[in-house]
Symmetry: C2
Subunit: 252 residues, 2 copies
């Protein structure tokens, strides 16, 4: 870890020494499809593996990068959860997103060559780090890689607008839980039982609500038989009803 507590700019000690078999590493990764190696030939994969750096493990509270840091790389989450956030001048934290395994962070930093937000590990996190200049260069030789990068960035456009709507607290919370459930399911985890890796305050700052509201809504959901929650362990009991609540936010 660098003196500033950030692992990205210089990733020396935090970089895993053992990359394993370069060719097999990503092929055996459960998230390779969602991540970066989708639809690429073995030869292309080799080129990609030459420039990937495996970073971690990072522990809860350690930062991947900080707002204002010079942009050097994007990264795919391999294990754990990364929270991206701003601190406004009132000291208020604004959470931009929670990033699960298979999801890519840092794409919003390309624009002005600086990370426009902070990224912190919420639990034990492992990352695959890609130097952006190098991957951009490679993308010129590999149409599939270029297309994949375009798609990844395109998908991120507008996702943040979902919870900015004037939906009720209930609807936003339902949408948050359903979204989490679906993303976890897409990665092979249970869509019904999972653990929240973030605090109530984090959720509140993400959904633009007061922490008290988050607490109250979750409690009410439990009373209404929608879910069972103890600390950060969630079991969704009535997915259809929760989805119905989330409908207006997810705009399906």
């Amino acid at each position: 870890m660098t003196p500033s507590g950030v692992v990205f700019p210089r990733s020396g000690p935090a970089t895993m020494a053992d990359d394993g078999d370069a060719l097999k590493f990503c092929s055996t990764c459960a998230f390779s499809q969602a991540c970066l190696s989708e639809g690429m030939s073995k030869h292309a994969l080799m080129d990609l593996h030459v420039l990937v750096e495996h970073v971690g493990p990072l522990h809860a509270g350690e930062h991947v990068f900080r707002e204002g840091d010079p942009f050097t790389a994007i990264a795919a989450v391999r294990t754990g959860t990364v929270k991206t956030y701003h601190i406004d001048r009132d000291g208020h934290e604004q959470v931009l997103g929670f990033h699960l395994p298979g999801e890519v962070i840092g794409l919003n930093a390309i624009h002005d060559d600086r990370y426009p937000c902070n990224a912190v590990a919420l639990d034990t996190v492992m990352l695959c780090r890609f130097s952006f200049p190098k991957i951009a260069l490679l993308a010129q030789r590999l149409p599939n890689l270029q297309q994949h990068l375009f798609r990844l960035m395109s998908r991120d456009i507008g996702v943040a607008s979902m919870f900015a709507r004037d939906n009720t607290a209930d609807e936003r919370m339902a949408a948050f839980l359903i979204g989490l459930s679906r993303r976890l399911a897409a990665r092979g985890f249970s869509p019904r039982r999972f653990q929240l890796t973030m605090s109530r305050t984090d959720i509140a700052n993400y959904l633009r609500q007061a922490p008290e509201t988050v607490s109250r809504v979750l409690r009410r959901f439990e009373h209404e038989g929608l879910l069972h929650i103890k600390q950060r362990d969630v079991e969704i009991l009535d997915i259809p009803r929760l989805e119905a609540l989330a409908l207006s936010v997810l705009r399906e």
Copy 2:
């Protein structure tokens, strides 16, 4: 115009016959820097001009593309204002953005090969249309073009998250006006006097407010000497105070 009222999928009749001098067209465009031709050689510009199609003029109410249409092209606004929006199942319109000359639309459609929203002209609009497969192919030969596309997309990530609910109606309106003013100024228009090309209802659907609230806030701003507004003609009288109001939204 096609039977569906959309000009994008088949742009035959709507495409301008006269492209002028291909090499000079974009060089003389006031927005070339903000748009696509920044930092490219003359040779590269020629290649780019071969695949650009000039679309328009479209008139107020005509659609550029509609939600669900197959994705074929991105487009830069050359004249006028384009509004992008969703219609949710309650029939409520959700405005995603207003796009001024020099700004690019359609980037959020790459992800799943369909436009995820509608795009409609608010006044008389002219566009530069770029076939996406072709421009992506060209980007493999032109590193600057690829980088520019990455930057354009990167910038759009997260802009929609600005007008969240935890800001007051006043702050959001101030941020909307300041943002408009700055974008117009960057394109050589007056930052103090301009015309709103969108209705109060459009603004309301963008800021996630009731139209009545938009009306009230604007009226109050006028009473407080912040601006003068008659119909859709705006004159900002006190930019510093308006900026101060917008601060918490623009998170500077």
